[in-house]
Symmetry: C2
Subunit: 445 residues, 2 copies
Amino acid sequence: MRQILVIGSGKSTSYLIKYLLDHAATESLLITIADIHIENAERLINNHLNGNTIQLDIFNDASRYEIIKASDIVISMLPAHLHINIAKDCLKLNKNLVTASYVSPEMQALNEEVKAKGLIFMNEIGVDPGLDHMSAMKVLDDIREKGGEILSFESSTGGLIAPESDNNLWHYKFTWNPRNVVLAGQGGTAKYLKEGSYKYLPYNQLFKRAETLNIENHGRFEVYANRDSLKYQAAYKLENAKTLYRGTMRRAGFCQAWDVFVSLGMTDDSFTMDDSEHLSHRNFLNAFLPYHPSDSVESKLQKLLKIEYTDLIWKKLEALDLFNNNKYTKLEKATPAQILQNILMDSWSLSEQDKDMVVMYHKFGYKLSGKKHETTSTMVTIGTDSTYTAMAKTVGLPVAIATISILNKKITQPGVHIPITKEIYLPILTELETYGIIFNEKNRI
Amino acid sequence: MRQILVIGSGKSTSYLIKYLLDHAATESLLITIADIHIENAERLINNHLNGNTIQLDIFNDASRYEIIKASDIVISMLPAHLHINIAKDCLKLNKNLVTASYVSPEMQALNEEVKAKGLIFMNEIGVDPGLDHMSAMKVLDDIREKGGEILSFESSTGGLIAPESDNNLWHYKFTWNPRNVVLAGQGGTAKYLKEGSYKYLPYNQLFKRAETLNIENHGRFEVYANRDSLKYQAAYKLENAKTLYRGTMRRAGFCQAWDVFVSLGMTDDSFTMDDSEHLSHRNFLNAFLPYHPSDSVESKLQKLLKIEYTDLIWKKLEALDLFNNNKYTKLEKATPAQILQNILMDSWSLSEQDKDMVVMYHKFGYKLSGKKHETTSTMVTIGTDSTYTAMAKTVGLPVAIATISILNKKITQPGVHIPITKEIYLPILTELETYGIIFNEKNRI
């Protein structure tokens, strides 16, 4: 039996654990799930004979080390900043490691040692990052093998609500970490390359300048730019491309309405508001509006941002009960972002049977035999319910498949990796198709 | 003879040094000016018998210590973050200290030791901070002595160009550190109190929501909010006031035009632009505009920010030569803020004979004998030329007068201070009037 250790059992682990348990018999696997709270892990294991849980305080160095020592391979599903100590233990104990997170500089710094020991630390193998790398590299490699020259690459991903569960005006619910959604775009000026020119978008323009995207059979979306669209320029070998753009998708109309919060400063997480526990929703909003001796909150908001009562954007704000003077978040010493998140969670939380949707869309422009071509690659995955979400599926299945591939020595190249080589991505993408995660590629000249 | 050591001889020291030299004979003063570059100091001393210069590397602990040891009192005119080592030397060597800078937490932490040794460390005794404290406290104390109850305090200050030298459409020139002007407002969300409600203004709204201010005989100004209007609430004993607002003044029309730069992200100092040394002014601007296959830079800017060719704001942008494709700042690895500053310096630098202007305006609302009253206090000072500026005058004279007062034991209370007690501010304000720095107070019911 091979011992797989999964550290962390949060929302995005349901499909990962299901896959591992489903393959436990055929692949001879024992799966241990370590977490500080084991209730969710126990629910997911559901008394499966090859699964067990163990309580672990990740900050307890000795217990963490012992648990890792007892395993054959480690999957860390913790928040990204908590991987590094696990990685260092794995290095000491000669264990392979899989994460769905961005490679941090600290993780990258381990590369030489990892290589020297013949180990594999596979990162960025969830959905975004993960599926984006694999599906994009597949098309890019195909084009290059045919002799094509890549001119442009635009890519966007969205964690959204499925049409069948879409019952609010924003066409949005929290299908992953709400805090990250509220703070999205605040990491610094977004940068991308368009037709040979670098473009820079400050936070205050990010949602104002979202771009419309139509996806056949799936309707209209909007895309706002990620912080650094040039991040994978070298990894994807796109040094000669004239356009590089990576973005995040929302349903059409979301960004303009969200920009109300950005413009007013309600997504700010850098200071706590005075007397925050006593602010009604209405007073919270009013704190970001100018003083006026007689104008109402509604009237001031309309004048300041030039919104009409009849605009859909206005209906969206009303739908959040933002003007209610009798509702309170009651949060003490809270930042605007924390209060806003709390207000949104009342309207945007998934109910038990809600289905989410993950959408990924790439557009490649290239020149082949003197002609300009365009290829699009689209993936839409719908979740089953609020536990077995599309998000958990698209994050968890690539992690699970990569883990088994490493155990079975199908992935062998040692080092700190992301899944951008054909040997890695092709078998994974092929297997994912059997689970309904399918990239639909279309070409036109 | 009493030995005064002035450390630093930058732009704001001309009047300070002139005052000290003019009083050298009557007050028996020897003035030593220490700086790493002594050319400006020598020019200002102009062979006066009681003045001399000494080259000092402020980071050389031994020489700094020896120079301070030889003096009777120290004035530090260095940038604020460089005061603390001087302050610690002064503490060791039992020397009094005067600065025009905000009291840093490190400076405040010395208070008990300074008191114990019977020393005086007088800070925030320039113009803003400085004159603002003194002139505001004078009115506040007057109102309270009459039995009035303060309801509101609004205060703003501007370092501007004098009307006789105002020859550009922005009605603005750099009369102090250009970098600080470009970065103004970026320290975080501005906060103030208005009629009992806290109000928060994010950077993207700061210049959009500037308020108009008319000052009799001086025309129309605009005021944008300082970061923390509540900073001196306790020091000024304004805990019961319903309105507290501190702002920075510009000439009418400036803020709306400046907001173009803020909106587009051109004041950002947090990242360097790719290939910055080869960006023409036009391409610099274009980097913050959306891509369009055929629209001109002008057309994109107009559409994005809804500006008309006929708007004054458009003329202001043109006046900066911002659309010129043949002008380059040529700065390598430059941030947007650095490039913008460079472009502005071409248009906004003071010429030798240009006169600047410092404006300060306070408005106090109070209740006395059941009636509501309003008092305004206005100060306008015009400079002589680009050396003897109003800025140098309003910063330097309070520093100089306070220094002599400490030497002459007219200010005696030991500790780390700011000038908010009558014993300190009243003699200084009275003497400043003889130099034309006059606060014009008006009351109305």
